[in-house]
């Protein structure tokens, strides 16, 4: 575990960006860059982090940063890694550079999953960080493959018949682990030490590594912006967001939650679940609790905690 005093005081992700107050993406970007031990290059998929941090002629990034499109951050990272290798072979490059790709849940779970799968299979040496705010927040809150069951978005609205999103969240880490990569982990910005340790771990392994981070979004999840870290902590304490890592296929639970709060505690603070508290949809709350329980059981079984 890293110590606070070991972290750099330098801000490589500077203030002045146009992310919303309380946005998890900004917190995650800043913490990531504070974790760096080596020079790094950043690839950013189209999304909130990208549009709000690099409005020309301004940039928040004090390191090489590239954005190409929405669905291809992993492919662009592949190309950068390939270029460094080839240039080194003809003695035109000698620096050891970390490559980090950021994508939101839309750019990762959905439209970018093919490019990510290809890059993981080919074994490029880079760290992919999915900041998951559980919907297409940048385009105005549409459902994604990462949106949880029951959440109201503009394409899964809280209707009178269908109360929010009927489907459940994808097992993203399971998909990544199935590629046989050396390191994959979940994290929450409420646990900065765990997160920074994981960024460093992911960068230290040879080959691809993936982090899946809960990214609180005051706008899309609909809660007060000062409560973001609280929300990120509640997600973990209700067992909604299990924090674990998978190293060489071996699962480890990083944050134990012996006395979980009911998931309702997490749901009731967010406008996106408000409709579920109407009497006719109350069974949905039970369904979500069941999903949380099953998912937790599944993860801790993999972690050998049962």
């Amino acid at each position: 575990m890293v110590k606070l005093q070991e972290l750099t005081t330098e801000e490589k992700f500077t203030s002045g960006h146009r992310l919303c107050a309380g946005c998890g993406a900004g917190i995650i970007a800043r913490m990531t860059l504070k974790s760096l031990k080596k020079p790094a290059v950043i690839v950013n998929a189209t999304g909130c982090m990208e549009v709000a941090s690099t409005i020309y002629p301004y940039t928040s990034w004090k390191l090489p940063w590239v954005h190409v499109a929405f669905e291809n951050a992993a492919a662009v990272a592949s190309g950068i890694e390939a270029a460094y290798k080839a240039l080194a072979r003809r003695n035109a490059w000698s620096k050891d550079v970390d490559i980090i790709a950021f994508g939101g849940d839309g750019g990762t779970f959905d439209i970018g999953i093919q490019a990510l799968s290809g890059a993981l299979e080919r074994g490029h040496d880079f760290l992919y960080i999915c900041y998951d705010n559980e919907a297409y927040m940048n385009t105005g809150i549409q459902r994604s493959g990462a949106t949880p069951h029951g959440a109201s978005t503009t394409t899964s609205p809280a209707g009178t018949k269908i109360p929010g999103k009927p489907e459940f969240k994808k097992d993203f880490i399971g998909i990544c682990v199935a590629h046989g990569i050396k390191y994959a982990a979940t994290a929450s910005p409420a646990y900065w030490n765990d997160y920074i340790t994981k960024v460093q771990r992911g960068l230290s392994v040879k080959g691809p590594a993936v982090l899946h981070v809960f990214s609180p979004c005051p706008l899309g999840m609909r809660y007060d912006s000062e409560k973001s870290i609280e929300m990120a902590r509640l997600a973990v304490q209700t067992r909604y967001w299990p924090v674990y890592e998978v190293e060489e296929g071996k699962y480890k639970l990083n944050i134990k939650v012996p006395n979980p709060k009911p998931v309702i505690e997490f749901l009731k603070t967010q406008g996106r679940f408000r409709h579920l508290f109407q009497p006719q949809f109350e069974k949905e709350l039970e369904i979500i609790q069941q999903w949380v329980d099953q998912n937790w059981k599944h993860i801790i079984a993999l972690c050998g905690e049962i």
């Binding site: 790094a40 090489p64 190409v68 492919a75 990272a77 190309g79 950068i80 093919q114 490019a115």
Partner: protein
């Protein structure tokens, strides 16, 4: 000094890319381009090149990886066809917008549906406005020569634009031809490694791919337009430098028989070869016909076209792609626009031919020449656009 090799069009392109010392190839197989990626894979697996080959999972990722590599300062090559080019479409605009001097072999093939693997120009014409320099070749030799020149043109600091080198699917990609190749050392003297000053380097950090709103987007596009305007000057320069290596001079437009021709055909790619053979035959009978073949299609060589057509009385424009609903197909639109813009009166008609790889025979071209001669004489175009070689 040259060496004679038997190469297919695809192999000629791969061999040129090898001699160009490309740093990264990111590519995905598709018929009829596949020979290129196969040939290059062999160079890599036999240790003949320093190139990093990224065997991507789609053409979309191929072009994405190429963009990443190019921005890192690498010399980058890829190749595709048809559906693959269509899948890349989004990335093509980003490659030119981010000023990545990527060179891509495009082995022209019809677009689905119905699915078809044979040669026509629908694929490239569908991405015509992607901001790339576009070159069309008549044979394997030209493909080899133009790939070598393409890197030098693309990477010129005044240009910094990607280039496609087009060959006709199967007709050129799979036909074995006699190709004169230059010695590695001579190629090296013509084209050294890429040395990019602006690249993703932590010592000189910069942001690339930023969001440009209404206040800056237009200027970046205007700069691209300027680069395309400057490109012909650089192409001329590279053609001259290439002449030292190859002993032959390319230009933006190839012509045949134009010194006295009254009627001519203008077309892209391999069809020009057949047209020249037919024209030769007709010229031996005293008929004043000629052939115009733009090597460079984008930027369109307007001045060269005006020069080539100045003594013509009729011109048949052959398009191996159809622009549905348009008055003319792509090449003819460019020809007519150029003539009109310069107040030039010329009887022009458009022929759409060869879709899905349908052969265009010497007999077809013979008839087209005769029709063009008739138009030259009567000064009357019966049909502004017609299809040749199709069952009606």
């Amino acid at each position: 000094m040259v060496q004679i090799m038997g190469l297919t069009g695809d192999e000629a392109i791969a061999y040129a890319a090898k001699q160009s010392k490309v740093d990264v190839v990111a590519a995905y197989p598709i018929t009829p381009q596949t020979i290129i990626v196969e040939a290059f894979s062999e160079y890599v697996h036999n240790g003949e090149v320093h190139t990093e080959f990224v065997c991507v999972e789609s053409e979309h990722s191929a072009m994405s990886a190429c963009i990443g590599s190019s921005l890192t300062g690498a010399r980058v090559f890829t190749a595709t066809s048809s559906q693959g080019l269509a899948l890349m479409h989004e990335m093509l605009y980003i490659a030119s917008g981010l000023r990545c001097p990527i060179v891509m072999g495009v082995v022209n093939r019809a677009l689905s549906a119905p699915i078809n693997i044979h040669g026509d120009h629908s694929d490239m014409m569908g991405s015509r406005d992607c901001g790339w320099i576009q070159i069309y070749c008549e044979n394997a030799q030209e493909a080899y020569d133009w790939v070598l020149q393409a890197f030098k043109i693309a990477e010129d600091p005044e240009v910094l634009l990607p280039i496609t080198v087009n060959i006709d699917g199967f007709i050129l990609s799979h036909a074995l031809e006699r190709v004169e190749v230059y010695h590695d050392k001579d190629v090296e003297n013509f084209l050294s490694f890429r040395n990019s000053t602006l690249k993703l380097d932590p010592d000189t950090p910069f942001t690339v791919g930023a969001l440009c709103f209404t206040d800056y987007y237009f200027e970046t596009k205007r700069q691209q337009a300027e680069a395309l305007k400057i490109a012909p000057k650089v192409i001329d320069k590279v053609n001259s430098e290439f002449e030292v290596l190859a002993g032959k001079k390319y230009s933006q437009m190839d012509t045949y028989g134009l010194e006295d021709a009254e009627a001519a055909i203008i077309c892209l790619g391999s069809t020009a070869g057949t047209a020249k053979a037919v024209a030769k035959d007709l010229r031996s009978q005293g008929k004043k016909v000629g052939v115009i073949k733009p090597w460079v299609y984008r930027p369109f060589p307007c001045d060269q076209l005006l020069e080539a057509t100045k003594n013509l009385k009729a011109l048949a424009v052959l398009d191996r792609a159809y622009s549905p609903g348009a008055p003319y197909s792509a090449l003819c639109s460019d020809v007519v626009s150029t003539l009109y813009q310069n107040g030039k009166q010329l009887n022009v008609f458009n022929i759409v031919y060869g879709l899905g790889g349908r052969d265009i025979t010497p007999m077809d071209l013979h008839a087209i020449f005769n029709e063009t001669l008739e138009v030259a004489e009567t000064k009357a175009v019966k049909e502004p656009l017609k299809f040749v070689g199709v069952r009606e």
